[in-house]
Amino acid sequence: TQLLEQSPQFLSIQEGENLTVYCNSSSVFSSLQWYRQEPGEGPVLLVTVVTGGEVKKLKRLTFQFGDARKDSSLHITAAQPGDTGLYLCAGRAGSARQLTFGSGTQLTVLP
């Protein structure tokens, strides 16, 4: 069974601060996605990474896939209240049909 561990579980920061969320596993994933979910809504796909060492940027968000494809990080620069939400990582192991989801990081950015 593949497991994805996210840390931290909760994060509360002031507007303008930087933060990093981690997603770690002992398993190798062929791809990894990051989602953001707001209360009462479905998760929204932010990015997909598929190559070891890959770095993708989405405005103030930077996503990195580990060289061994076992871990990933999400870095937010100068966080804003609009970044508040539940961040989920999800990985696909090999040709598995279903994704493995992390437990999520609840981010609160205070104005």
Partner: protein, 110 residues
């Protein structure tokens, strides 16, 4: 844009009722999924389908069934709703790497 729609955003049903939750995707994706999401338990996979009329059990299939008669539509059925099935239900579809979710259905069983 990929679009996954769910038939209801909010639903209130009584114990013992049969409940249908429908999901439609417009991107010709082969794979479709039903999850439930509960505080402290994260996303849990109920059932998924990788082709029309094909289905596989996920991690928590008990008390649920599914139907996929057409590629774009995947239905979740609660044969006899119980209070422990009160939850947020999320449908998703995927082809290759990217999986997209619908807006969710908040089901309350009283």
């Amino acid at each position: 844009d990929v679009k996954v729609t769910q038939s209801s955003r909010y639903l209130v049903k009584r114990t013992g009722e049969k409940v249908f939750l429908e999901c439609v995707q417009d991107m010709d994706h082969e794979n479709m999924f039903w999850y439930r999401q509960d505080p402290g338990l994260g996303l849990r996979l109920i059932y998924f389908s990788y082709d029309v009329k094909m289905k596989e059990k996920g991690d928590i299939p008990e008390g649920y069934s599914v139907s996929r008669e057409k590629k774009e539509r995947f239905s979740l059925i609660l044969e006899s709703a119980s209070t422990n099935q009160t939850s947020m239900y999320l449908c998703a579809s995927r082809r290759d790497y990217e999986q997209y979710f619908g807006p969710g259905t908040r089901l309350t069983v009283t």
